[in-house]
Every structure is written in C-alpha cells, then in structure tokens.
C-alpha cells in the first residue's frame, strides 16, 4: 500500500461521506455546502491522480462558481425545511435502485479491474493539454464555446421577467414614461417669455 493509496483513501472517504450527506441532509443550505465539500474532495482525487490542471479547473468552476449558483438558487426559491418536505415518498425505490446499481456495477468493476497492476499515476503536463486542445480538439472546443454562448443567452431569456407578465408595476412604469414628455410640452406651452425666446433662438439657429 503506497502513499498514493493512503492519500486516495482519505480523500475518497471525505468525498463519499460528503456526497452521501449532500443527498440526505435535511437542511437545504447544508446540502449545498456538503456538495461543495464533495466537489473539493473530487479535486483532491484529481490531484492524487496527478491531473493538476483539472483539479484547479474543478476548484474554480465547481467549488467557486457552481456552488454559489446553487446557493443563490436555494435562496431565491425559498423552499420549506424538513425531511418530509424535501424527500418524496419513493425513498425506498431510490435506495433499491441505487443500491442495486452500485452492487452490479462494483461487481463488474472488481471482476474487470480487480487484478489490474498497481501503477504510479502518470503526470501529463499542462503544456501538452494546451497543445492538444488547440490542435486535435479544436473543433469540440469551438463547439463548446458556442454551447456556452447559447446557454448564457438562454438562461437570461428564461430567467428574465417578461413585459406584462407581472401586471401592474410594468403598466405603472409605462404610464409614467409616457407622462413625462407631455408634461414637458405643457410646461413649454405655458412657459414664461424668456424660455420661449430661448426656444425661438434655438430653432433660428437650426434653420440658419
């Protein structure tokens, strides 16, 4: 049992425990924070496997951004707190499906990779990843950038409050906006002579 195995065991236990807590926690915010711990643990697993660049990307994207997004989502949709409200009636079904799937898949994996030789993880330089992403994988990379743009615009369109959807406030704003020019015109019509002279001067200037 090498040092890799010991570190992987510790990080993996933290990851698995936090993941289980994330799907069983009664408190919504606690579930999101447990998910953050689990995702950070996955970054640690990447580090143990010598995938440094991917570990940093995981930390930045998941622990930094996605968790905050989830916390915002939980806060904006104020949901009730409590196990009865959070879990549906088919917990037994979930346990059965997940347990059966885990037993089947782990049996298959142990059957296939149980006798695999223990090797030292290969470090792949970030330079190689950068070179290959802009040569071999450039088409998927560009398609992914288009996907991100589409997701950005789609998320804005979906989450935006459409005009007229929430009745009074939009109409109120529209009335005020249309009022403003008419009051300006009224004030100009009943304006004292000095202001009218100024208007004449400007129109004269324009005609000249």
């Amino acid at each position: 049992m090498t040092g890799y195995d010991v570190v992987f065991l510790l990080v993996g236990l933290v990851t698995a425990g936090a993941a289980i807590l994330a799907v069983t926690s009664k408190n919504l915010v606690h579930a999101a924070l447990h998910l953050a711990v689990s995702l950070a643990g996955i970054a640690g697993v990447f580090l143990v496997l010598h995938a440094d660049f991917l570990a940093l990307v995981q930390l930045i994207v998941y622990v930094g951004a996605v968790t905050v997004l989830f916390l915002f989502g939980l806060m904006l949709t104020r949901a009730p707190i409590g196990r009865e409200a959070l879990d549906s009636q088919n917990r037994g079904l979930g346990l059965a499906v997940a347990g059966g799937l885990f037993l089947t898949m782990s049996a298959l994996i142990i059957h296939a990779y149980g006798g695999a030789p223990a090797v030292t993880p290969t470090r792949i330089a970030t330079e190689d990843i950068g070179l290959v992403i802009f040569s071999r994988w450039v088409l998927p990379f560009e398609a992914l950038s288009m996907l991100l743009l589409a997701a950005l615009i789609g998320a804005i369109l979906l989450a935006r409050r459409e005009a007229g959807e929430s009745g009074e406030t939009i109409d109120q704003a529209r009335i005020e906006l249309s009022d403003a020019p008419s009051t300006e015109r009224d004030r100009a019509g009943t304006a004292p002579a000095g202001l009218g002279a100024g208007d004449d001067a400007t129109t004269g200037g324009e005609s000249r």
């Binding site: 090498t2 799907v23 951004a65 979930g94 090797v119 998927p140 991100l148 979906l158």
Partner: protein, 103 residues
Amino acid sequence: MSPLGPLLLATLLFCVGVYGIIARRNAVLVLMSVELMLNAVNINLVAFQNLVWPEDGFVSGQLFALFIIAVAAAEVGVGLAIIFNMFRNRASVNVDDVDLMRW
C-alpha cells in the same frame, strides 16, 4: 496505485446521485445530484487516462473531463433558469407538482 479505487469511488458517487435524483423533491437538489453523477464520470475518465492508458497522445480522458465540466456549468445555468421560471409560475420547486406532460 490500482485503478480499482477511483473506479469504485466513482461508482459510489454515481449511485448516490441516482438516489438523490429519485428521492429528492426539491428541483435544486435534483440538479445537485445530477452534478454529482457528472463528477463521478469525470473521476472515471481521469483514472482511465492517468492510470490505464497514459500513453494516449491526444490526452482524451482529461480533455473529455474538461468538456464535461464546461457542459455541466452550462447545464446548471439553464437548469436554474428553468427552475426559477417554475417557481415564478407555480410558487413551488417541487418536482412532483410538475406533472403536466406526464402520461
């Protein structure tokens, strides 16, 4: 180290995600379980890349993991926007309530 450990950890995380999707009612928590499943696949890809087939010149495993991370981020954005719409229309994020298109 043997690839068995990362593969078993990924299997466990995937199954925890499956349980979360089936058992949770809050749509945001369902989305969090989907993230767990995607991350389990990432562990698998990196383990196969760095332990089983490191001589792959195209670094396919790590790059697929990178792509999956980006797609998952986009998916969270759009998914949360859909959940906000659902909450605005129905004042609830319970996935059991949204059964209009169920057969």
